[in-house]
Amino acid sequence: MADSYSGAPAEANATADGFFDDQTLKYLGVGLSSLFALGVVLLVLYILSVQVDYGLVPTILPQFIRAYGLVLGIVVTGSVLSVTSGIFVGLARVSKTRITSGLSAAYVQFFRGTPLLFQIFVVYFGVPTLWPGTFPISNWGLPTAIISLTLNHAAYVGEAVRGGIGAVPDGQMEAARSLGMGYVQAMREVVIPQAWRNALAAVGNDQIILVKDTSLLTVIAIPELIQQFRDVNSATFDPWTPLVLVAIAYLSITIPMGRLVEYLEARSDWGGESQ
């Protein structure tokens, strides 16, 4: 922050109340954040060295690995389905046909406007009772997980895609149409590639949230990561060993995902910053 004032004249180099000049403020910021970082590092070291019971790890690792595999499976399926359907939600939203855009808007309002936990309950407890007679699917937990995560995140992806399309200048569609392209062709060749770049950061953000949202599936007894924490903790009363494993598991998915988004953004740079 202080750097942004570096071109200002010297007399402007103090804040309005006169307590700190920029230089003091800068040192204060560096000092405080270093102190905070040091505290966090010490706390983590303390937890890892004193609180974590490494003897327990080999015993509980297999169940965490199984849970990790399951979460990965749910995430990959949920991502593919929610991004694909989200693109259609976004496209429907910008449609000139009132019914189409209205339905899309209502969809987004509902699935963005109610908690995911509620949606999980609707699918898990509500849907089977609507079936005339006995519900045919006996193991409804995993389908519930995929369906609710997809429905919920398609709404967010849809909003990101709508915003991405909205940020493409009208002149792009006009230029494409004036060359003789039809609406669908112009969308596919010209508008959507640019909209996708615009939406990428928001979609990536949402998909990282999807990973963390799998933790809610513990309420319908899906054997995901939080479920393993509860299992180990209730048997051993040891919170930190399973908690650390849970943290490692989530971060090992979410951090590479963040990197992937950065990579995809850099790849669609198209010759650098716009003028």
């Binding site: 230029a175 004036s178 060359l179 003789g180 060749e189 640019q194 770049r197 669609s268 198209w270 650098g272």
Partner: protein, 246 residues
């Protein structure tokens, strides 16, 4: 085609934006090979008239015909007709995710189904014509405004249009870049391209135009040869307009 009709005809065209009557019974014929320059104050409807010519704007009454075929008819195959009408915009509107070369080959390949090799060869010829052969692999962001506009002209020419529409194509350019774009347009005119040009560049209008059309408040108020228009405007509105230029 025999000359019982002009190449581009505006026949009693009326256009409204909501309540605002922006084009009032405009009739104008542009002959094959003619360079028709449309001038007039801001808000006179000249850009709107141009945009109606490839139906980026719908008209409410009258008819617009290209080579005798209606453009404004709701049943017209507009995607087909637009291939015959090149359009160049004030804001270039190059596709930022495509290189200069890809900008030019996109429509020939996707709309015409021309194979990549042929489209590429043609695009390189066009880039050479506008003096940008070296820039084929550059993205629009890497080009100056004048270069972008020249690529935009090449992109429109790649569809082999019968008429080219220019919508204030130098208005968004830095003054020192205007010349290179006008130079390309002058070359096109010399090659016999039919052009409808909306511009504020009066020097260009006078030198390259075959005919000047003055618009004001949605009407064509005067048309004439460039020299007679600039020397001796026939209407009071024409005189007023010219006096403000000095």
């Amino acid at each position: 085609m025999t000359a019982d009709h002009a190449l581009l005809e505006f026949d009693h065209v009326d256009k409204y934006f909501g309540e605002t009557h922006v084009l009032k019974e405009v009739s104008l014929d542009i002959e094959d090979g003619e360079v028709c320059v449309v001038v007039g104050p801001s808000g006179s409807g000249k850009s709107t008239l141009l945009r109606c010519a490839n139906r980026l704007e719908e008209i409410q009454a009258g008819e617009i015909r290209l080579d005798g075929r209606s453009i404004s008819d709701p049943d017209a195959d507009i995607n087909r007709l637009r291939q015959r009408i090149g359009m160049v915009f004030q804001s270039f509107n190059l596709f930022p995710h495509k290189t200069a070369l890809e900008n030019i080959t996109l429509a020939p390949r996707k709309v015409r189904g021309i194979d990549e090799e042929t489209a590429r060869t043609r695009a390189e010829e066009l880039l050479e014509d506008v003096g940008l052969l070296e820039q084929g692999a550059s993205y629009p962001n890497q080009l100056s405004g004048g270069q972008q506009q020249r690529v935009a002209i090449a992109r429109a020419l790649a569809m082999d249009p019968k008429v080219m529409l220019f919508d204030e194509v130098t208005s968004a350019l830095d003054p020192e870049l205007v010349g290179e774009v006008l130079e390309v347009m002058r070359g096109l005119a010399d090659d016999g391209m039919t052009m409808m040009v909306v511009t504020h560049e009066m020097g260009f209008a006078r030198e390259v135009g075959d005919r000047i059309v003055l618009m004001d408040e949605g009407r064509v108020v005067e048309t004439g040869e460039p020299n007679s228009f600039f020397e001796n405007p026939r209407t009071e509105r024409g005189e007023q307009f010219l006096s403000k230029l000095l």
